[in-house]
Amino acid sequence: MFGTISPTLLVAALMVAATPILLAALGELVVEKAGVLNLGVEGMMIIGAICGFAVAVETGSPVAGFAGGALGGAALSLVFGVLTQFLLSNQVATGLALTLFGLGLSSLLGQGYVGIKPPATGRLDFGPLSDLPFAGRVVFGHDWVVYLSLALTVGIWWFLRRSRAGLTLRAVGESHDAAHALGLRVRATRLAAIAFGGACAGLGGAYLSLVRVPQWTEGMTSGVGWIALAIVVFASWRPGGVLLGAYLFGGVTVLQLNLQAAGVAIPVEYLSMSPYLITIAVLVVISARGTRRSLGAPADLGKQFHATR
């Protein structure tokens, strides 16, 4: 049925397609674990996309570009951080505003970068390993950001589950009052988490503009940030689940385009709605397991913290 589609190229393509979503969703996972709901992922991603693109073009170095993208995303997220943590603004409204602001600011910053080609980010060279059948392309045939995103998944899992700092972060997210009573620094922890989330989203955006597309176009994230937000819930706030969700979504998107290109006789309507259908189906299955609490949502997610005592 899959006719002429090469599974090797398909898996390789889905990993590339999923990487921006994975990076952004991992960042948001950490933010939400700290009890903050930042709906501005889309805005931070697009700022990361233009900052990364601009820095890469100006310096000629894609690595500097990714660093610039991460910094841009983090800087924007700190606007959100200051507004919500110090000025106690509403997190949902501020997050939405951040997305609008990011989209506008990015098109302003991007005025001079339309139609320019960024320096290429090559695949890492693993020598003879890259010539292996299947694994050579799928495991050893990617650029370094793909490996970074996978390492980040493991790293965040380890941090949240095994490290003391991770425990502090989770405590802040579960009950900021209790954490505060214990003498933990709630605001500082949250601010750090927000900045980390912004950096990850910025990295994801830079991956779009530097590798996946690769060029700067206004509005180029076109909704990826929202998908990343959904995937955090989909994953029940677990890094492994985020990886699965991102690859599933990326995979179905790439698969449906490949099936169409191969001329497989499935009506196109079903193919194009399949990524969304599958996401909804999985969300239904997961939520059937229990309430928000038992799914692993941090208890103080989205609540404001004001130290009264």
Binding site: S107, V213, M220, L257, Q260, P267
Partner: protein
């Protein structure tokens, strides 16, 4: 219901108020765009034309635009907002704005609307479109002559007559020079999503296509083709010259400026009337971007000849004998397609594989 009546009353009051002092006020022209003005394609060209209007009339016009407006209920809200804030003429520049435009136009009989690429008109609604299929025929000829794998990838947006017409015109021209040519059509269901367009181009290239035609608005497929190396593409809606000479070997350019200047001028003079126009290469609304050196000399010359023949009306891209996909006769020998059939085209011509989604 009450709120609607109230809004209607407010609108009428607003229009009467502006009408009373209209003499010295600049004419306010609104533009509703489906993508961002920096998309490098469709919306970019509409915005270039908006700027041309400003340059032409200076202080006598004031233009406003709203970009990335989704097709559907949101579009209606945006148009209502523009009409309420005193726009005299509103250009709605995407097929999917057709019904929203008709609805809003009914509520604001004194505001004039110009809808692009649709087929409905009213007392205060004109529709205008370009015969992109004429450009597609030139593209199809180059594509069919250049392909070595005999596989041509086509990134389609939505299954609407305009897109289907383009596929048919390109296929007819390509199969005429190269009877073995095959078209792989991917429906992206978006006008603008660079990542998805890049993925679609990638998938087509992996299936062996060495020519990519696109009916989506971003330059992402161009970048994907460039990365692949020996794949050629065509600029869509805009010249996309930054990808010349390879992979972009030519382009279809939408030139809306003369039309927009003409229509805004008609509003200023008070001579505006509802109309329905469909202009092509001959009138200059459709332009063919420079054919680069990557195309062999003889093909380039022949492509230019086809372009000129279509422009002068001596050649029609849909000239019989042409059968429909199911084998039934559409056009007899020497017969050319009438505009009505073209405007509502919902079938593939014989030779194309796959089905058109509903």
């Amino acid at each position: 219901m009450q709120r609607r009546t109230f809004m209607g009353a407010v609108a009428t009051a607003a229009i009467l108020a502006t009408g009373a002092i209209a003499q010295d006020d600049p004419v306010k022209v609104g533009f509703v765009y489906v993508g961002p003005v920096g998309d490098g394609g469709w919306t970019y060209e509409h915005d270039q034309a908006r700027q041309a209007v400003e340059a032409e009339y200076g202080d006598r016009v004031e233009t406003v635009f709203q970009e990335s407006v989704p097709e559907g209920a949101d579009a209606e809200r945006v148009m209502t907002q523009m009409a309420l804030s005193g726009a005299d003429l509103i250009f709605t520049t995407s097929f999917g704005y057709m019904d929203p435009t008709m609805n809003v136009a009914q509520k604001f009989p004194d505001v004039k609307f110009e809808h692009a690429t649709g087929y409905k008109t009213a007392e205060n609604v004109s529709n205008y479109s370009a015969r992109f299929y004429e450009g597609r025929a030139v593209q199809g000829f180059i594509a069919g002559s250049m392909t070595e794998t005999d596989k041509i990838g086509y990134i389609a947006s939505f299954p609407i007559p305009e897109v289907i017409r383009g596929i048919n015109a390109a296929y007819l021209a390509a199969s005429k020079v190269n009877p073995d040519v095959e078209f792989n059509v991917v429906w992206a269901y978006t006008w603008f999503d660079p990542a998805k367009e890049a993925d679609a181009a990638q998938a087509l290239i992996e299936q062996g296509a060495d020519v990519i035609l696109q009916h989506t608005d971003s330059t992402a497929p161009q970048a994907a083709a460039e990365a692949a190396g020996d794949v050629i593409t065509f600029g869509q809606a805009s010249d996309m010259a930054e990808y010349a000479p390879m992979p972009r070997v030519s382009s279809i350019i939408d030139n809306w400026a003369p039309y927009y200047i003409d229509r805004v001028g008609a509003v200023i003079d008070g001579t505006w009337e509802s109309q329905s126009v469909w202009q092509g290469i001959g009138e200059g609304m459709v332009g063919i971007g420079e054919i680069t050196d990557a195309v062999p000399e003889d093909i380039r010359e022949e492509a230019t000849r086809i372009k000129e023949a279509i422009g002068s009306g001596e050649m029609h891209p849909f000239t019989g004998p042409i059968n429909r996909q199911d084998g039934s006769v559409w056009l007899e020998e020497g017969e050319t397609a009438d505009d009505e059939t073209l405007l509502g085209m919902d079938f593939y011509v014989e030779g194309l594989s796959g089905e058109i989604p509903n």
